[in-house]
Symmetry: C2
Subunit: 120 residues, 2 copies
């Protein structure tokens, strides 16, 4: 693992939220000022493809990367764009019971208004 790769992995690992590639780039530049966006993307994708981090893809917004590998779902605040993790227990089983074919994987996106935005 190169120093840049280690930095990128470290940045994700110590974040408890969801970072875009641009955000990871900005943070990586604090340590490696010349790092490029393509390098960030390449390595984030390598980590995601090998299961070291999780990539969340959404239509109309940039991908997010997070360290949380436990199965969970995502809620998206329609006002500020923030993403919150949550877990609907037994959702996989519930879906499997109601769908006639084997489910390879699934993605649930919930739109809501986060508490911070609600209090405005």
């Amino acid at each position: 693992m190169t120093k840049i790769q280690a930095s990128i992995f470290h940045i994700i690992s110590q974040s408890d939220g969801h970072l875009t590639a641009e955000q990871v780039l900005a943070l990586t530049k604090q340590i490696h000022p010349t790092v490029s966006l393509s390098t960030v993307y390449r390595n984030l994708n390598i980590f995601a493809d090998t299961g070291k981090i999780r990539r969340i893809q959404r239509p109309t917004s940039a991908d997010y990367y997070e360290r949380n590998l436990l199965p969970h779902d995502h809620a998206y605040c329609v006002q500020c764009g923030s993403i919150a993790d949550f877990k609907i227990s037994h959702l996989k089983e519930y879906l499997a019971q109601n769908f006639e074919h084997p489910i390879l994987s699934f993605e649930l996106l919930v739109n809501y208004v986060c508490p911070a935005c609600k209090n405005k």
Copy 2:
């Protein structure tokens, strides 16, 4: 409603599947050979925004448009890319019971292998 708008709406209305803007363009051109992609997009979005058709957005693929306005979910064949409608009954209620905030809307994406691809 202009003639072009009527054609676009008619094309979606008589399709029982999921069409991309490019597919709608090709079909519209059979009637209005000079129609442009931007016109197709603009009108599909107008129809979607006013609830006349439904737009399905996915990461990494073009948007799909369909006439089916009844609430339902979508399964995506990872081999051929086809989309199938299905309905998980009471999913909204199930999610609401397990999520602490009001759910504005949600989107469920199931990845599977469609019967046609399985038989290969």
